[in-house]
């Protein structure tokens, strides 16, 4: 057989064997090419220009390369290990290491660059789809047109040629280091000896769970007011991160075997087939895989957390805009408001107008404060500046002379300070002080947050008291305007037209002037791109980590083939074994997933309110989607095991 034939035969045989390696390659190339094509597409200029997206995209490309390199090297290592026997055989018949390396390189080159071509083709088709998705979620009115980008092609080719060189270098190292005997032994070597669960292992296990629990506990306290100083907050965050990651590592190293061992102990040797295949197999492997699993878990948690947070912001852009802007258009100036309304009338757009008088007063809120750390706080509850309005501006509220309520209280603020149900507040003008009975919080927004000192609550008092305070107001703490005109367009379909008029008048530029539509659509562009990027990486990571776990399972199934043979001889049916394997996969894929989901849940829970107004819906959507996509790999490995079990006897 000539050299060429040898290569071709190997290739043909390997293609069916290593279809997953090919898949990994095609997938990586497609992903990268699609990403780079997007980056070079002229229609992305708007994105790049609008929010300095160029830097984000470039950073994204670098990150993508990092993920791909790690992934491909891992896949390659696994597969060269599986071929070690063949390499040993070639060496045995007298081929030099150099020659073997040459065979491998040529083989790999064809496999690699063949996959690359397919990948580029797939990537190009996918990039149009991605473009459409991006444009859709950003809410830009544009048609997704795409041209084949030569720059993208060159960049992809360069990157993957470099990766090829790196992989080949690793293969060369692998071949160089091995002796014939070793090469034969690699596959038969099991992952470390079966060790019994020791006392130290148990301690490690308990410590791991303890550290995770401590991290979780700390995360719930993070923004509850315990850490108000920036340094303390920063330190607390680092502590959480450290204790959760170390805890996760110890959890895999010790806790899993420890818990499984307790379950086994309970059975006193009488182990069902499901437990034989799942518990006993996993508990000895968990330990040697603990670093890999920790990395997978941490990055999954990161991906799910970031996805949830960006989706929360995206999901809440409209709500956030609604919360900060109570009316469709906010104009803190009567003359300008009149001009705008004239224009609306000219354009035959029906609208309602709402005028609110307001001004700033000194307020003593110390008697209604529930929790507030005065030393580190940004204001002094005994002498705060707050906006006051008349009860006539708030629909359905009529207060008597000695009463007051609070409106415009944002959720974000509630995380830092909470108010008592009742109490007394004092409002002070230039000379007089009025003390009023505080009657509670009214969950509604009357003024845009820009006009209320950046989202500080607003006090509502009786019209008479309001007049009294107004005559006595302290000029030194007043802002530019003391009147707010909110305009609502009656027909929702006409908002866009009204927004056009608003923009033509140039109002959006002025302080305090705002169109809700404009704010929410710019928010959507920013958050949309962020979500797209995070989603892209989340998906990449999901697929790569899923593939890595799947490869691992392929490996394990080969190693456990002997076990299946024995069990089938003992009279267990294929179905019995497959049921056991299902349980095993449930743990194998489930444990990192559940731990990752838990981590991200606590991470998101601790600070989600900075990102938006809705926690549950977006977070659950992200988690369910992630879980579903992730389970595909679990299913794939069950199918693979099915084949192995069938062939085992």
């Amino acid at each position: 057989m000539s050299f060429k034939q040898l290569i071709f035969r190997n290739l043909k045989k390997n293609l069916s064997n290593y279809y997953l390696y090919v898949f990994a390659l095609v997938f990586s190339v497609a992903l990268y090419f699609a990403f780079v094509t997007l980056q070079y597409d002229p229609s992305m200029d708007e994105v790049e220009g609008s929010i300095k997206g160029a830097a984000a995209l470039r950073a994204g490309a670098v990150m993508l390369i990092a993920i791909i390199i790690v992934f491909l090297i891992y896949a390659n290592n696994l597969f060269i290990k599986r071929r070690s026997k063949e390499i040993g055989l070639l060496q045995l018949v007298g081929l030099t290491k150099g020659k073997i390396f040459q065979i491998l390189s040529v083989e790999n080159m064809m496999l690699y660059f063949g996959s690359m071509l397919i990948g580029i083709f797939v990537g190009f088709s996918v990039s149009k789809l991605l473009m459409m998705i991006l444009i859709k979620i950003m809410g830009i009115n544009e048609v997704a047109t795409l041209r084949f980008s030569v720059e993208a092609l060159i960049q992809t080719a360069v990157v993957f040629v470099c990766i090829y060189v790196v992989i080949m270098a690793m293969n060369a190292l692998f071949i160089k280091r091995q002796r014939i005997l070793h090469l034969f032994q690699v596959t038969s070597k099991t992952e470390g000896k079966v060790n019994r669960v020791s006392v130290i292992g148990m301690l490690i296990g308990v410590l791991g769970i303890g550290l995770i629990a401590f991290g979780y506990y700390l995360s719930t306290r993070l923004f509850s007011g315990d850490f108000t100083e920036l340094n303390a907050l920063y330190f607390a965050m680092l502590t959480i991160l450290g204790s959760v990651i170390v805890g996760t590592y110890l959890f895999y190293k010790g806790s899993v075997s420890f818990i499984f061992n307790m379950i086994r102990k309970k059975d006193n040797g009488y182990l069902s087939i499901n437990k034989v295949l799942s518990l006993s197999s996993i508990m000895f492997r968990m330990k040697s895989n603990s670093i890999l699993l920790t990395i997978i878990t941490t990055v999954s948690a990161l991906a799910i957390g970031l996805l949830s947070l960006t989706y929360i912001s995206y999901y809440s852009t409209e709500k956030t805009a609604e919360e900060s802007l109570p009316n469709h258009f906010s104009i803190p100036n009567e003359a300008d408001a009149a001009r705008f309304m004239d224009e609306l009338e000219a354009a035959k757009i029906e609208y309602t107008e709402k005028k609110v008088d307001f001004h700033q007063v000194h307020a003593d809120l110390s008697r209604i404060m529930e929790t507030y750390d005065e030393e580190n706080g940004s204001f002094n509850p005994g002498d705060a500046t707050m906006v006051v309005i008349s009860d006539e501006a708030v629909e359905g509220i009529d207060l008597s002379r000695n009463e007051s309520i609070i409106v415009n209280f944002p959720d974000t603020l509630q995380q830092f300070m909470s108010l008592k149900e009742t109490g007394q507040i004092s409002l002070k003008g230039q000379a007089q002080t009025v003390t009023l009975n505080y009657k509670g919080l009214e969950d509604r927004n009357v003024l845009p947050s820009l006009l209320t000192l950046g989202g500080f609550p607003v006090a509502v008092v009786d019209q008479g008291v309001y007049q009294q305070l107004k005559e006595d107001m302290d000029e030194s703490i007043q802002k530019e305007s003391t009147v707010y005109v909110g305009v609502d367009v009656k027909d929702k379909g006409e908002i866009e037209e009204a927004d056009k008029i608003f923009q033509e008048l140039g109002f959006q530029e002025n302080f305090g002037y705002s169109s809700r539509l404009y704010v929410s659509s710019t928010g959507k562009i920013t958050m949309g791109l962020a979500m797209f990027l995070v989603g892209f990486f989340g998906l990449t990571f999901l697929i790569t980590s899923g593939c890595i776990l799947y490869f691992k399972q392929m490996d394990e199934s080969e190693e456990e083939k002997g076990t299946y043979k024995i069990l089938r001889k003992l009279g267990f049916t294929n179905k019995d074994l497959l049921n056991g394997i299902r349980v095993k996969q449930l743990f194998n894929f489930g444990i990192p997933l559940v731990v990752g989901l838990c981590h991200s849940y606590f991470a998101v829970k601790s600070g989600w309110f900075f990102f938006g107004t809705e926690l549950w819906t977006p977070m659950i959507i992200v988690m369910v989607l992630y879980t579903l996509l992730y389970s595909i790999f679990g299913l794939l490995s069950v199918l693979y095991y099915k084949k192995v079990i069938k062939d085992s006897l």
Partner: protein, 253 residues
Amino acid sequence: MSILEARKIHKRYGNKWNKQEVLRGIDIEVEKGEFVGIMGPSGSGKTTLLNVLSSIDKVTNGSIKIEGQEFTKMKEKQLAEFRKNHLGFIFQEYNLLDTLSVKENILLPLTIKKVTKKEAQNKFAAVAKELGILEVKDKYPGEISGGQKQRTSAARAFIHDPSIIFADEPTGALDSKSASDLLNKLGDLNEKRKATIVMVTHDPLAASYCSRVIFIKDGQIFTQLNKGDESRQTFFNDIIKTQGVLGGVQHEL
């Protein structure tokens, strides 16, 4: 009453163009409580015979009955059911699961039969005591000696009281001391439990523990020896003699 009854079994490997007949019409009958040895030179088909008799491999022609049940035409699922109720196995390479303790390994066959926990514990205690592995019950196979491993394997074969036990070169990987130890135990169990054992071996010493030895050559039964009332030593000498006649390779000049 015969436990195992095999009639005219043939086994062919290969495809249309390249056939090889490994078993050529073998008839075997094994009575209840017998300890039968199968001997023969390498390539004579003894392991294939054992695989076929133990339902792990399928015959090309012929019928095999165990306790009157014909299983050559059974489907995979029925076969599994059949194996778990009627058969026990001991192999040269022990075939223990590395991730299970000795006790867990031994109890495996009972878990498929849905025996109650208490009964399982009793059976375990009895069989482990007989085979002398009670003190290593919580160890893993990696931590015990070859002899102990093989006795564990034997305990697993005996624990569910199968109709027949198949042993494939059980002493093949053991030193002489552990080997005779194991064979003595097997002999004891054969007598005490009235267990039926079919053992493939190429070691005449191991075969001398049997009550009957069948010699196979080129896929056919060559001859058989009965121990009868002879001492083990004379039986051993007979076996050696027969083996000498049997030879390994035919010398045609």
